[in-house]
């Protein structure tokens, strides 16, 4: 294998992996704080991708404004989940909450076709063009994605370690009952967790839409990729989630380079099943 194709393989792997890492980080925060997984998560990412597309192409928003709007949108969708979608099922069985969230995801991902049509949409890159590394073209979009991921991971780290919001999230994650006894309300923890995780999903959806396409049919696969990354890294490890995402991205790009893109999802889902079977705590989950 030439150096050129190796760089290309690595670049696509890390780019996709960074997005999976963002999604998995959002999943981790939600799961750690509320012990819930959201099967409609990918739908939020796709929604953000489509709205970002409309904002930049249709309304000619500058890039930084779109970015802020998308993050706020993700936060707002999270609040709406916590306030309204979960309101009637809050104290019910876990499976009822899971199905309610999944149902909302199905409604939302199929509603896009009403507004944006059925064909997936291609978004323009943030900065068009590519950089030449050892003769291989690495698009500026990849650099944007990697940069945004690094910044968001650091921001989340700061949020979790130094703010009251982060402390209550970590408290609820370590011991939900004790956190409640210390006066941290379930409602506010849910609001933070859904807000942050949906904002990360929205960010992930926005940055990936110039590379893949944005459309309702990509929502569920994105959810599953996020899950796979989280399981690989470990359900309770934020850094593990990001590393799991990077690993999954690399595995996928190696699959595309060797077997072909047709069996990409087969390989990544097999990795998920393998981890669930052999090492359910993931690589960084501990015992």
């Amino acid at each position: 294998m030439s150096a050129e194709s190796l760089v290309l393989l690595l670049a696509t792997g890390v780019t996709k992996g960074a997005v999976y890492g963002l999604l998995a980080l959002g999943f981790h925060i939600l799961y750690a704080a509320t012990r819930m997984l959201h099967f409609g998560y990918g739908a939020v990412a796709v929604l953000a991708g489509l709205i970002a597309l409309t904002l930049t192409n249709g309304l000619h928003f500058p890039f930084w404004l779109t970015l802020i709007v998308i993050i706020l949108l993700g936060w707002a969708v999270g609040q709406a989940h916590n306030k309204w979608v979960l309101a009637p099922v809050r104290n019910r069985d876990q499976w009822i909450q899971m199905i309610a969230l999944m149902a909302i995801g199905i409604v939302v991902e199929n509603a896009y076709a009403l507004i944006w049509g059925k064909m997936p949409k291609a978004a323009p890159a943030f900065t068009p063009g590519a950089l030449s590394v050892l003769g291989a073209p690495v698009s500026y979009q990849s650099l944007w994605i990697i940069g945004i991921t690094v910044v968001s991971v650091l921001a989340i780290k700061w949020l979790l370690d130094y703010t009251l919001m982060g402390k209550s999230l970590r408290g609820a994650s370590n011991n939900p009952l004790a956190a409640r006894l210390m006066g941290i309300s379930v409602m506010s923890v849910g609001g933070y967790a859904y807000g942050i995780s949906m904002a990360l999903a929205a960010l992930g959806g926005m940055v990936i839409s110039p590379i893949t396409f944005a459309g309702g049919q990509f929502a569920f696969p994105l959810t599953m990729k996020g899950f796979a990354s989280l399981v690989m890294g470990g359900m309770f490890s934020p850094i593990g989630a990001v590393i799991g995402g990077l690993l999954l991205g690399l595995i996928e790009s190696v699959t595309v380079g060797t077997i072909g893109s047709r069996y990409m999802d087969v390989v990544s889902m097999s990795v998920l099943l393998l981890f669930l079977l052999v090492r359910p705590h993931g690589l960084f989950g501990g015992e």
Binding site: N110, S270, L273, L276
Partner: protein, 335 residues
Amino acid sequence: MSTLASIARPRRLILYAILALWLAFPLLTDKTYYIGLAITLGIFAIVAIGYNLVAGNTGMFSFGHAAFMGMGAYTSAVLSMKLGMSAWIALPLSAIVAGLAGYLVGLTSVRLGHLHLAMATVAFNIIFHNIVVNWTFTGGEAGLGPLSRPALGSLVLNTDRKYFYLVWFLVLALLLFTRNVVSGRIGRAMAAAKGDEIAAQVSGINVITVKLNAFALSAFYAGIAGSLLGYYLAYVGPKPFGTDFSILLFLMVLVGGFGSAWGSLFGAALMTFLPEFFRFLSSLAFIPYNVRLVFSDYTYNLLLFGVAMYVVVVYLPKGIMGISWRNLRLGKSKR
């Protein structure tokens, strides 16, 4: 559990009358359309009854049962088209293959909680669907066909009317078998495993084995249904065996009511007739075009099913069978 034995005598007679009427129904009509719907209903009923063993009796929610159905359908297609095997041998063999696949998937999944189980079964369904779509051996997007209908000597099930009796013979046989499983020792072990795993363990029930067996058995049912669907359509393609059908299957059993065989039948009936009802609505000229589109297009049908799923799981988690009809009659219940 409403078993036949527990139903009082006059109600039991009514039940037999309805059953006789249903079995006589293909003789009363010439329209293959109606008989076709009844066959589809039977096939859905078989998967739903099997799915209920997992979801209702054991408390595990799988989102990969469409793949087990597909496993049955594709096994039948391959056995009868590439090896020229008779349908009478291929049908049980495909059910066994699906059951074995269920056992293997169960090995990875039954130890997991609700969230991880759902994740694992969806992953399995995606793997299965992607393989049959891309593999030339399974015909790719185009699928495999034509399959010839089962034949026994001179008795060939070449008409839908004859096929109806095969399907519904299997529905009734499986219904009775399921009732015996559920009301017997295994069923009680399943109920115990659903209720409190630790308590069940302490009482000497091997929870993992019970769950694994239930999972494999329900995959076996799905395999029968898939094989029947393949022979009925005389064609097997990847389309019906994606994750979306797994979710519809869940919805079918949820609407009917977990743990109730009658609920499964009802859910299967609803899922058979609803698309027809949607098609009827989409043909009505006085409804505005944009509204009709919602009924005629599969994407928007899924949207409606999503709304239904939310409403049912939030307000009616025990399904239709969970409604207490006596309390609904206002005035009478208040004394």
